[in-house]
Point group: C2
Chain length 343, copies 2
């Protein structure tokens, strides 16, 4: 039976993760879960972000379920670089999978887009690009200061994530992959991405392809999100595009994310895209849907696609039954979802 590590984290993290675990237990009884105390609270208490011993322990699990880490009192970059990105890189989670659907029952911000019309997934590269941490500065705090950030891209890293995107597209109905980059300005990295994309596309004559510059893709995600099926892109572009995709499908409150090591050599990590929301933490009013959808991605990755499908269907039932404006209770939503999932 699967062994998962649970990092509930800060703010609303513990509240929403509790519901995700409830739903996992309902559809796949017997999953063994171990809690790890990481995030802003631990950092403030002990000064530690992610001790090597904890990293080693996490490595022994099949997957990690994360709620949210962070707090305005922690300096920018500490938990991002020291925890979230450290896990992505240490566990070679090179596929950052972010599905976006405009669910029936959810009102998106776009007047012309109806529920059910948007169903896309962004496959974001997770271990390279501008996230490599290659940069520095000179003459800090003088008029001569210069700061650099370097985007590092390897054929190895680019090709494997494109391959994953094509495999996912081949298993979907529309079978289309859109490559997003900025080949007209970032000519070196852009050329590498474009050539790797063409090479993998040649192995998939059944999958349709297109290319868009990132600025155009950002625009079309707003005006015509329906046109996308699978989008593959680099780390930073994926960060931006997935938040746009979340915004047009009802907000990051509903968005799930998986940082996946497809080979299963290291644990993959699943987390809602939203943050720790300290302003509403502890009140039992956070929507756990994104955490529960992240649990569905986890189940799918661990080889339980039917359990995953039941969780996703439960979310569809829950959202279709909501009355706009009626406040929700985190634990009641979790109870309902667990119930729908086993019904």
């Amino acid at each position: 039976m699967a062994r998962i590590a649970v990092v509930a984290g800060d703010g609303i993290g513990p509240e929403v993760v509790a519901q995700a675990r409830k739903v996992i237990d309902a559809v796949l009884p017997g999953v063994e879960a171990t809690e790890y105390d990481l995030g802003a609270a631990r950092y403030h208490r002990t000064g530690e972000v992610l001790p090597d011993s904890v990293l080693d322990e996490l490595a022994g699990h099949d997957a990690i379920l994360l709620g949210a880490v962070g707090d305005p009192t922690v300096p920018p970059g500490v938990l991002e670089r020291g925890l979230l990105l450290k896990l992505r890189f240490a566990f070679d989670q090179y596929v950052n999978l972010r599905p976006s659907r405009l669910w029936p029952g959810v009102t998106g911000p776009l007047a012309a887009v109806k529920p059910g019309e948007v169903d896309l997934v962004v496959v974001r590269e997770g271990t390279e690009g501008l996230y490599a941490g290659a940069g520095g500065s000179l003459h800090r705090d003088t008029p001569a200061e210069v700061a650099t950030e370097e985007s590092l891209n390897t054929r190895h890293g680019v090709e494997r994530v494109i391959r994953d995107a094509f495999a996912r597209a081949a298993a979907r109905e529309r079978r289309k992959v859109t490559l997003v980059h900025k080949t007209n300005v970032l000519t070196h990295a852009g050329s590498l991405w474009a050539r790797a994309f063409a090479a993998v596309a040649a192995e998939h004559p059944d999958v349709a392809t297109e290319y868009q510059h990132v600025d155009a893709a950002a625009m079309f995600l707003v005006t015509q999100p329906q046109r996308y099926d699978v989008v593959v892109t680099d780390n930073l572009f994926g960060d931006i595009l997935t938040d746009i995709a979340a915004a047009v499908t009802g907000g990051i409150g509903l968005a799930a994310s998986g940082c996946i090591n497809p080979e299963g050599r290291y644990p993959s990590m699943f987390e809602p895209v939203h943050g720790s929301a300290p302003d509403i933490a502890g009140r039992g009013v956070a929507d756990p849907v994104a955490a529960v959808l992240s649990a569905a991605l986890l189940l799918d990755q661990l080889g339980h696609p039917q359990a995953a499908a039941r969780v996703t269907a439960a979310v569809a039932t829950e959202l279709a039954g909501r009355t706009p404006g009626v406040p929700l209770r985190t634990d009641e939503v979790g109870d309902r979802l667990a119930g729908y999932a086993v019904a």
Copy 2:
């Protein structure tokens, strides 16, 4: 009297630029205009993109009015790097000014946003960051290939564009500047931007400030574009965010852009954000509004704010009077705009 260089360019460029000139002539008779043949057509005919002699001649003008350059037959990067970016860098156009308004009469894609509610301007850095052209690759077309792109940021370059943004905000009604970056991941460049921003903000106690990560800003531009007044950001983030801002205010068909050297040491350049649209070129149906709004930015920069205001008001009249779905004729729109502007 002002001397402007006109680069009509490719596709619909000549059609829309003709209307912009018509409107300039109406509000500021006597502007001397010299045409320069640059773009895809010249590249195909002669192999030349931007000869040094032409660059020298352009430098002798007060401003450049550009229609659109580009064609699918030109390899990516050739005209972008060789012409557009070359001009931005050669003429030290460090302020890329991109206003977005949801005009009365225009239906944006967002259900909750009404015309008149959005009025923001993005001040995008134009001479640094990932656009510096610092990058390369090794072991091309082998499994060992690596490609880099480097973002270069100087205190000099960052501070001057932030200073420009604050000056613009101080002259606007809401007096607010939002810095957009990704300080939690791009810690070196992010720190430089944040410190320069704080330093300039201290000189402007009358201007409100906020900071957002680029992914959050992309999302809020979709869900709450009304919240922005002046946004200052780096070159690549600005590229992406301005297309989102255009999308939520009716599309890049209405979006104007100025690449400005504020000191006037070199000519500034003004152009619609849209491309050359080869599919509709030559039919006289392209909307010249973005080109005409770019002409308004040009007039303002050359010290004719009243002429600029008349052009902007003419556009407002034109857009408010349009009936959705009724096809337009490029030259008729230009005639109407020229008429409104002098009425």
